[in-house]
Assembly symmetry: C2
Homo-oligomer: 110 residues x 2
């Protein structure tokens, strides 16, 4: 293996700490699932209750509930209860901007 002293010194100094990188990774992992991405996109258009999401995406209610918990724990969505129904909506402006940046990347012509 050849030498990389100078290079690695610089990188080591500038890299964020492990916990920051892990938090970043955890966040993007949440966007990296087909079901969650669809839920997020739908909620960016309308506040929706669990069974509306389930009906629209044609995915079982319990699978949706599990994913809503993941999204809630990442503080990307929030819920409010109205009687038996629980309504979900986006809880963060970054959802829009993160998705838009991603969208720009995938639609870029090369």
């Amino acid at each position: 293996m050849h030498d990389h002293h100078a290079l690695l010194d610089h990188v080591m100094k500038e890299m964020p700490d492990d916990s920051t990188l892990d938090n970043l990774t955890r966040l993007f992992k949440v966007f990296g699932d087909r079901t969650r991405m669809r839920i997020l996109y739908a909620l960016s258009l309308e506040e929706m209750c669990v069974c509306a999401i389930s009906e629209y995406l044609k995915i079982e209610q319990t699978a949706i509930s599990h994913q809503l918990r993941v999204l809630r724990e990442s503080r990307l969505i929030k819920s409010r209860r109205e009687g038996k129904t629980v309504y979900y909506s986006l809880d963060d402006s970054h959802v829009h901007s993160i998705i838009s940046e991603g969208y720009e990347h995938i639609t870029e012509v090369h």
Copy 2:
């Protein structure tokens, strides 16, 4: 289950098509891995060869190579060969902006 006609009509009209959503998901999945996130961050600081990345992250060369391929296929990094050595660097300005948006989210106080 109660009724959601009007709501779902609107969501259906505005949602991007399946392939767009799948491409978005695929992209964010790439950011959602500890090893790849570290590689991307390091490459955002310096152009690096495979063995420098491997040495720095203390991860076997072959695992790094596999992940570099994933990153290349997502058009997030590019490579150039110089003799036996292959140097990698970022291939897209969106890497910076996507990571920054994520960073803002995780550092936000609630």
